[in-house]
Symmetry: C2
Subunit: 179 residues, 2 copies
Amino acid sequence: MKYCSYCSTELVIKIPEGDNRERYVCPKCGAIHYQNPKIIVGTIPVCENKILLCKRGIEPQYGKWTIPAGFLELGEKVEEGAIRETFEEANAKVKILGLQTVYSIPKIGQVYLLFLAELIDKHYSPGSETLETILFPFEELPWDEIAFSAVKFALEKYIEDIKFDRHPTTHIGFYSKKI
Amino acid sequence: MKYCSYCSTELVIKIPEGDNRERYVCPKCGAIHYQNPKIIVGTIPVCENKILLCKRGIEPQYGKWTIPAGFLELGEKVEEGAIRETFEEANAKVKILGLQTVYSIPKIGQVYLLFLAELIDKHYSPGSETLETILFPFEELPWDEIAFSAVKFALEKYIEDIKFDRHPTTHIGFYSKKI
């Protein structure tokens, strides 16, 4: 960030009055350009003891497996975003059952909100950024080829909750990764 | 948003290749300026059947009561941000017990993540943006003077959970407000 997005003046870094952190501030129009973490929303789509995973067709982690997830858009509720991502990446319609994981990655300013969801029908197919979609039985998940730490955490927690007969959405997984 | 924050060129609005939404795009350097929802983190600080509330000393909602909460900063875990806000607004140290409410406000691009927390000691006092801090007994909360819908939702849910002997953090409140 170098220029003011309101008036194009070169920004300075300083602590605004009443604040306690350095911000990008415009010396001409006075605008303070805050930078905030982004929310990633997604689902664990479940159907008959199987989980729908997507093989990534884009970088990062091209060719690795993930659950459908992506950045929350302006104007969306978190659960709407998770449903949209599931449709965009796997052409799958889901019903949200509950929040399953909250996972912060402070160093890159990301917070994952991952929901347990149930496949509404058995239609699914790769979206434009996905190479392949497979319903994996619980005991055959591709653990060595999972794309992201947040996804691995959520899947491990889900499988463990099932094993110990805990309700996966009322024992939210909570994790923060310093990377 | 009018100018590119990387190169100061005037932005255009268009759908980038491979995307399905209009974005601010720089016609010179090609940067895509995404706009995403922001996360507000906070706590319901509880101690001996009382909740610590803050009387707001800034707009919006000057003079109304709220729980300590504010924008998550870059480099923070969600629970760290909630603890920091509680200290900044009420000089109170808390231990996080669990996530209690997720509340989306799509129209203004905000997602609240509110945590149940326990006061570590009984020291608290108004921070620089707070007029007054009071430990309110559960039955004496100032319902008609609560600052924000998300806070009212979280407090109502907490009181109801306590009444029905439900664990407030394993039955997360889930709400989205179209305003």
